[in-house]
Amino acid sequence: MKTEEKNSIDLFNLLYKYGTIFVILATILFFSIFLDNFMKFSNIINIFRSVSIVGLISLAITMSLTVDGLDLSAAAIAGFAAVIAAKFMVIWELGTVPAIIVPILVGVIVGGVNAFFIIKMNISDLLATLSMMFLLTGISVTFQRGTAIYNYMPLPNNQGMAPGVLTDAYLFLGKGTIFSIPVPVIIMLIVALFVFVFLNHTKYGRFFYMIGSNQEAAKLSGIPVKKYKTMAYMMSGFIAAVAGLVLGARMGSGEVNAGDPYLMDSVAAAFIGFSVFGIGRPNALGSILGALLMGTLLNGLVMMNFPYYSQNIVKGVVLILALSLTYYKKKN
C-alpha cells in the first residue's frame, strides 16, 4: 500500500515542482511546431524584451509578498517614475543622472509611505497600496495636466518648445542592446539575480521570509519587524521605479498612467512563481518564469494572428492550468 501511494505522490510532486516549467515548455513546443519563426533567436530575445516590464514589476511585487504583503501600487510607481524622469530631462533639463536617481528615490520614498500606512496606521496592505495607486495616478496626471512628456513638446501657455530631450543615455535603458541582448532584458536579469541573492543568501532576505511566514514569531525573536517590512516595501518601490525607467525609455516619453496596464499580469506572474521548483514561497526565479510564461503565450498568439479579445481566454485558461498543476498537490 505504501509503495503504491508513493508513486502517485511522486507524480504529483513532480507536477507540483515542475508544473509551471512544464506548461512553459508545452507552450513553447506548441508554438514552435505551428509557427516557423517562433524559435528564431531574434524572437526569443523579443519575448524576453516584451516581458521585461512585467518581469521587473513582478519582482517588485515579490519583495512585498515575502513579508506577506502585496504592493498593488508597484505598477503605478513605475508609471510615476517614467513621468518624473521625463520631466527632469525634457522640462527641467537636469540631465540623465538626476533623471535616473530622483525617480528611484521617489520610488523608495513611496514604498516607505506605503510601509508607514501599513505598519503605523495598521491599514491592510491591499488597501494601503490600492489607495496609493489612486493617489499616484492622480498626482502623475496632475503633474502634467494629463499630457505625456516628450522631446520637443510645446510648453503650456505658449512658452515655446520644451528645452530638453530624453537623453541618449536614458533611452539606452529601453532601446539599447549589449552584444545584441536588449538592455531591458539585461536589467531585468540583473535585478532578478539581485533579488535572488538577496532573498536566499543574505540574512535580510531570510528575515523577510520569517516575517512573512510568522510575523509574531519573528517579532518575539527580536527581529525588528517594522524595520524590515518598511525595507521590503522600499525595495519594492525601488524595483518598481527601475521598471518605470525602463518603461519610459522604451516608450521614449513620460506617458501618464503608463504603468497601470501591467499590474494584473505582474501580480499573476508573481503568484504563478510561488510554486516553481516546489519552493512554496514568493521568489525571484518563479516570478520571472511566471512573466515569461505569459509573455510567450502573448507572443505566440499575436504571431498566430489571434484576435486580441480571445487572448484573454487563452491567458485565463493557461493561468488556471498552471495553477491547478502547482496547487493541486498541496491539498494532499
Binding site: M1, H201, G205, R206, N214, A218, L220, S221, G222
Partner: protein
C-alpha cells in the same frame, strides 16, 4: 539569582497577576505550577519581555533590569519556549534556520548567509538532542512533537542563563520527555537555571528542586520539593484537597454500539479492528506518532476511508466528511486546540454553540437569547474561568480554551465521543472535572474513545485499551489486567510481527 518583585499585570476585565514575588536561584531547576489561568504563562511572558507595560520590578543578581521587549530579555540571558509552539516557529523555513534563528538575527556578522555553518550547527544540535529530523525540511511539515523539540533545540543553542520551558512536555512522549530531562539536567550542570512549567506533577518531582505555586494570579509560595508531596502541591494549587483524580465510574457496560472493521485510511491507518460498547471508555494508547490522532480523524470523516467499514449500532455508516460524522452521532475533541479545537478569534458563546447551531435557531434564524442561555450553562458546568460569555477565546488560558473545545460537544447528545489528548495542558483540578464529564457521558449509555499517550490516564480512566503502533492496532488489553510496563512494551513495537520502528 533572578528576582521578580511585586509583579502585577492586568488585562481588560482580568487581573492576571496580582503582586507576585518569584525568585529563581542560580543553577537550579525550578517548577512553576498552578491551575489553568493561574497566571503562569503571563508571569513568564512578563519575564521574557512580551509585555511592555506591567507594574513591579525585575532584578538579576541584585541589579534592577529593564525588560520591556524580547530582545532585552535575551540580552539578560532569559530565553523562553512558549506554550503554543506554532507561535514561535517559521513554518515555511527549514529546521536549520528555525534552530539557528537567533544566531541569524543577533550574532551573524555577515550580510550573507553562511549556509554551511548554519546547517552544520543545526545538525549538531539535532544530534545532541538525539532527534531524527532532516534539517533541510520545512518546519511546516513536522509533527507537533518534532516542532517542540526544534524549539528546545533553539533555546539550547542560545546557552541562556535562565531558560523558561512553558509546558514543554505536553506534546512529548514519555521517552522524548525523558530525553528532554536529560538535556535539562545537563544544562543545569553547565550553570543554567531552568523554570519549568508543567501540569504533570510527577515530572516536576522527578527533575525539579524547588516549586513555586500560583493561584488566581497570586503567589502562594516557594517550596523545596524534598519537603513536599504531590498531594500537598495540589492542595496549594487549588486551595483545597483533591479527593481522587479518577472518579469511580459505576456504570453498566452493554452491547456494542460502534465498530470499525478492517479499517484503512488514506492517512496511513492500516487494517484497524475495534469496537466500543455502550457505557464503555475505550483507550487508545501509543507513543507520539503511533497514529492515534490519525485514527481519530479517520473515524470522524476527516480523512478518506480506503478499505473496511465503520458501523454504528450494527449499521454501516459512511462519513464522507466531518459534517456527516456529526450527523451520524460522532463527536471529536481534537488534539491541537489552538488551530483545530476552537476558533480563537470568536467569543466563547459562539464557539460553544457552533456544533449544533440548529438548536438555537428557529427556521434558520439565530436566537441570541438561546445561545446565551446555553453557553452560560456550559461555562458553569465545565467551569470555564472567564469574566463573560462574550470573551474571546484567545484571551483565555490554555486550559480554559481546552474546556471550550470539550464543552461545545456537551450541549447535545452524541453516540460516540472521541477524545484526542483532551487533558493536554490541563491542571489536575480541571482534569478531574473532565474525567467526571466523561464519566457522565458514558453513564448515559454512550461510548467514549479516549486517545492518550499518558499511560497513567489510560490506566485510571478506561475500561479497555487498544495499543497502537505505526498506524496499526497491535494489542487489545483489559485495563484492569494490565499495567504501565505492558502498555509500554506494546507501544514500542514489542510483540509486533515486524519489529521495526517507523522512521
Amino acid at each position: 539569582m533572578l528576582e521578580m518583585k511585586n509583579i502585577t499585570k492586568e488585562f481588560p476585565g482580568v487581573k492576571a497577576l496580582d503582586g507576585v514575588n518569584f525568585n529563581v536561584g542560580d543553577s537550579e531547576i525550578h517548577a512553576l505550577v498552578g491551575a489553568n489561568g493561574a497566571g503562569k504563562s503571563t508571569l513568564m511572558k512578563v519575564l521574557a519581555g512580551v509585555y511592555n507595560t506591567f507594574d513591579g520590578e525585575i532584578l538579576i543578581d541584585g541589579k534592577k533590569v529593564d525588560i520591556s521587549n524580547p530582545k532585552q530579555a535575551k540580552k539578560e540571558g532569559i530565553v523562553i519556549v512558549y506554550q503554543e509552539v506554532d507561535t514561535a516557529l517559521i513554518p515555511s523555513l527549514s529546521v536549520a534556520e528555525n534552530i539557528m534563528m537567533d544566531y541569524m538575527i543577533n550574532d551573524q556578522q555577515n550580510t550573507f548567509m553562511d549556509w554551511k555553518y548554519i546547517k552544520k550547527k543545526a545538525k549538531e544540535e539535532v544530534e545532541a538532542l538525539d532527534l531524527d529530523i532532516n534539517v533541510n525540511k520545512n518546519v511546516g511539515e513536522l509533527s507537533l512533537s518534532e516542532k517542540q523539540m526544534v524549539l528546545i533545540g533553539r533555546a539550547v543553542f542560545l546557552e541562556a542563563k535562565y531558560l523558561i520551558l512553558d509546558e514543554p512536555t505536553a506534546p512529548l512522549s514519555l521517552e522524548e520527555s525523558k530525553k528532554l530531562f536529560e538535556i535539562v539536567n545537563k544544562l543545569r550542570e553547565q550553570g543554567m537555571s531552568i523554570i519549568f512549567i508543567s501540569h504533570r506533577l510527577d515530572e516536576v518531582f522527578k527533575i525539579c528542586e524547588k516549586v513555586s505555586v500560583l493561584r488566581n494570579g497570586k503567589f502562594i509560595g516557594s517550596y523545596d520539593l524534598e519537603e513536599m508531596t504531590i498531594d500537598k502541591v495540589v492542595e496549594k494549587m487549588l486551595g483545597k484537597k483533591l479527593e481522587n483524580t479518577f472518579p469511580k465510574i459505576d456504570c453498566q457496560i452493554n452491547g456494542t454500539i460502534f465498530e470499525a472493521v478492517d479499517l484503512s485510511g488514506k492517512n496511513g491507518i492500516e487494517s484497524v479492528d475495534f469496537k466500543v460498547r455502550s457505557g464503555e471508555i475505550v483507550g487508545l494508547a501509543g507513543l507520539v506518532g503511533a497514529g492515534k490522532t490519525e485514527l481519530s480523524k479517520l473515524l470522524f470523516g476527516d480523512s478518506k476511508v480506503t478499505a473496511g467499514k465503520i458501523k454504528l449500532h450494527g449499521q454501516e455508516i459512511y462519513n464522507q466528511n466531518t459534517h456527516q460524522a456529526v450527523v451520524n452521532g460522532l463527536a471529536l475533541v481534537p488534539e491541537e486546540r489552538h488551530t483545530e479545537g476552537v476558533l480563537v478569534n470568536e467569543s466563547i458563546e459562539t464557539n460553544l454553540t457552533l456544533v449544533n447551531l440548529d438548536h438555537y435557531c428557529s427556521s434558520s434564524f439565530i436566537s441570541r437569547k438561546k445561545i446565551k442561555e446555553a453557553s452560560l450553562k456550559v461555562i458553569d458546568d465545565v467551569g470555564i474561568k472567564t469574566p463573560s460569555e462574550k470573551q474571546l477565546v484567545n484571551n483565555l488560558s490554555g486550559g480554559n480554551q481546552q474546556k471550550v473545545s470539550i464543552g461545545k460537544w456537551l450541549l447535545s447528545d452524541y453516540e460516540v465521543y472521541i477524545f484526542d489528548e483532551p487533558t493536554k495542558g490541563i491542571d489536575v483540578g480541571s482534569k478531574a472535572e473532565i474525567y467526571k464529564l466523561i464519566g457522565e457521558i458514558v453513564s448515559n449509555g454512550k461510548g467514549v474513545i479516549y486517545a492518550s499517550s499518558e499511560f497513567e490516564e489510560i490506566l485510571g480512566l478506561t475500561d479497555r485499551v487498544y495499543v497502537m503502533y505505526d498506524g496499526k492496532i497491535v494489542k487489545e488489553l483489559k485495563t484492569s489486567e494490565t499495567d504501565e510496563e505492558e502498555l509500554l512494551f506494546y507501544s514500542t513495537g514489542g510483540g509486533s510481527s515486524e519489529d521495526r520502528r517507523k522512521k
